[in-house]
Amino acid sequence: MSESSVAIARPTGAVGTRGPLRRLWLRNALQGWGFILPNFVGFALLTMVPVVTLFYYAFTSWNAFGKAKFTGVENFVRMWNDGSFWTALWNTVYYTAFHIPLTLVVSLGLALLLNRRIRGLAFFRTAAFFPYITSIVAIAVVWNTLFSPDYGPINQFLRAIGIDNPPGWTASATWSMPAVIIVGTWREMGYYMLLFLAGLQTVPRELYEAARVDGANRWQQFWGVTLPMLRPTTFFVTVMLTIGSFKVFDLILVMTEGGPGQSTLVLSQYIYQKGFYENDFGYASAVSIVLFAICIAVTVIQFLYNKRKDA
């Protein structure tokens, strides 16, 4: 593989006969696989195999012990008529729809702000990343305290500026989801900021200089240089954020446990409930498949959109 330094140039399709093209094709494939293989061996055996079995269990009734009983599409029919499933799905979409854009904007903003040489840079970057490394229990306690309907500082502030009936936040079915979205964004902004920071390092300074010579202001530079150059990173962040939002689990567990009522019950939690509380792993697998299908559909759309822009 190592001697193939020149012939690697992509098959342009315009020149050459069938034979050399075919050999080139084979060599490319071998080379690609050569790089992918070390990771792929571990990945395929340790992750892909169990994931594939999930697709089988989704069509069975299985209690984790012994053999699964094949039941066809029964689980999916049951899901269609299961009110709690629809509630969980709706809540998941609700969370996702707000959490993704909010986190994107905040983390990109932070990355831009903290990508310059300022005094105390290390401190501010560390501070922004801190929510992600602070114990999630501490986060739940402090935010719940801030949100506390009667004594919390947030509501005291709202009352002070003239709002007589401030929201009940995590203690109310209407406001619990917005509260969780706020905390989710706050917690993850530093994580995605880090990814954006890495991406920002690839934007060549020369481009900014050229834009400045052309008379572009900061705002125009951002739209004309930063965003386009950052697209691969933005794509990565968007996909990870989408999947992460659809799968949100532990944050909600410590903040509200899905309550009050079912107001913050999300699909991941529903899957865990059905599997480990009710020992209904067949049904839990079926719900997972649906969650998986939604994630993949959204990802493929993002993938295709990204490809088109690439071309």
């Binding site: 490319n28 080379q31 990771n39 990945f43 340790l46 501070a127 993938f303």
Partner: protein
């Protein structure tokens, strides 16, 4: 407290607000803007650090003082001995050792195999590449809780469960690193590779001599994120590690919770201690995100 690496001299933060130089008043405006911006930044930082502060305060309380109404921001009598008790009463040293081992091995494997595979996905072309890549991303989209049991059965058959290697196997080959590195390689202009090929460099040579040095910021963020994820992982070790001498810090801290009770103050003490190593890694790693270090010598 943490302003260790802040040595950068030229403060052009204000430029964010007022754009490129235009008139004589600039320095005055930018001074006001600069001060304003710092005030905002400092307040924001204080808010962001509040839960951590609460953690520290709680680590100095007695168990029954941790959760109260109204919230108690400082213990009535600070229990400094909690920081001694935790070492005496529990096996913190073993937990830290295991966690460190896992974090380092997982991160190293993920960075190495991930970036290697990413080169294959980014810089070589072969049929089925995109589909394979989607399969990688696809597995991220499956909630782990749902295939945990089949995977556990598989790992047990491979003789991995109840060894630290189970966690390595679980985390090291994930799609995250592949995806991250691939996106980063995508931003590196193809012309660089072409030029290197003309100079007679092999594909592996290009990966090692060109891609890796140019990807320092991406490797830094992958390292940091993997390190933190592994360090703070709870569910993975919970399912796979049984023997007390294999426990990680997150598992160990749960032993302060019994069925009906919990030693909350000690849990917070342990949590504070467990943040410190991450802090060190972060402070070391974040230096690699300085504008321009990666792009020197590159033309867009």
């Amino acid at each position: 407290m943490m302003a260790v690496v802040a040595e950068a001299p030229d403060i052009d933060l204000a430029a964010v607000l007022d754009g490129p130089p235009r008139d004589h008043n600039r320095s005055r405006v930018s001074l006001v803007g600069r001060i304003l911006l710092y005030v905002v930044l400092v307040i924001a930082a204080a808010l962001v650090l509040l839960p951590f502060y609460w953690m520290v305060a709680s680590s100095l309380k007695t168990n029954n003082e941790v959760f109260t109404v109204p919230v108690q921001w400082w213990p009535s009598v600070p229990q400094w001995e909690n920081y001694v008790t935790i070492w005496v009463k529990s096996d913190m040293l073993t937990w830290l050792k295991n966690t460190l081992f896992l974090s380092v091995v997982v991160t190293a494997l993920q960075v190495f195999t991930g970036s290697f595979a990413a080169y294959g996905f980014s810089k070589t072309r072969f049929p089925g590449r995109d589909v394979l890549f989607l399969a990688y991303i696809g597995t991220i989209a499956v909630p782990w809780q749902s295939y945990m049991i089949p995977q556990f059965i598989l790992f047990s058959k491979l003789g991995l469960s109840n060894t630290l290697w189970s966690i390595v196997a679980l985390q090291a080959f994930g799609a995250f690193g592949v995806f991250l590195m691939k996106q980063y390689f995508d931003t590196i202009p193809e012309e660089l590779s072409e030029a290197a090929r003309l100079d007679g460099l092999s594909e592996f040579g290009i990966y090692r001599r060109i891609m890796m040095p140019l990807s320092v910021p991406a490797i830094a963020s992958l390292t940091l994120l993997m390190f933190v994820t592994t360090w703070n992982d709870f569910l993975g070790p919970l399912v796979y590690l049984r023997s007390p001498d294999l426990w990680t810090i997150q598992l160990g801290l749960r032993t302060f919770i019994s069925q009906y009770n919990a030693e909350y103050a000690l849990i917070m003490t342990g949590s504070v201690l467990s943040v410190l190593p991450i802090l060190i890694v972060f402070l070391l790693g974040q230096r690699y995100f300085l504008e321009g270090i990666a792009t020197s010598g590159m033309k867009g």
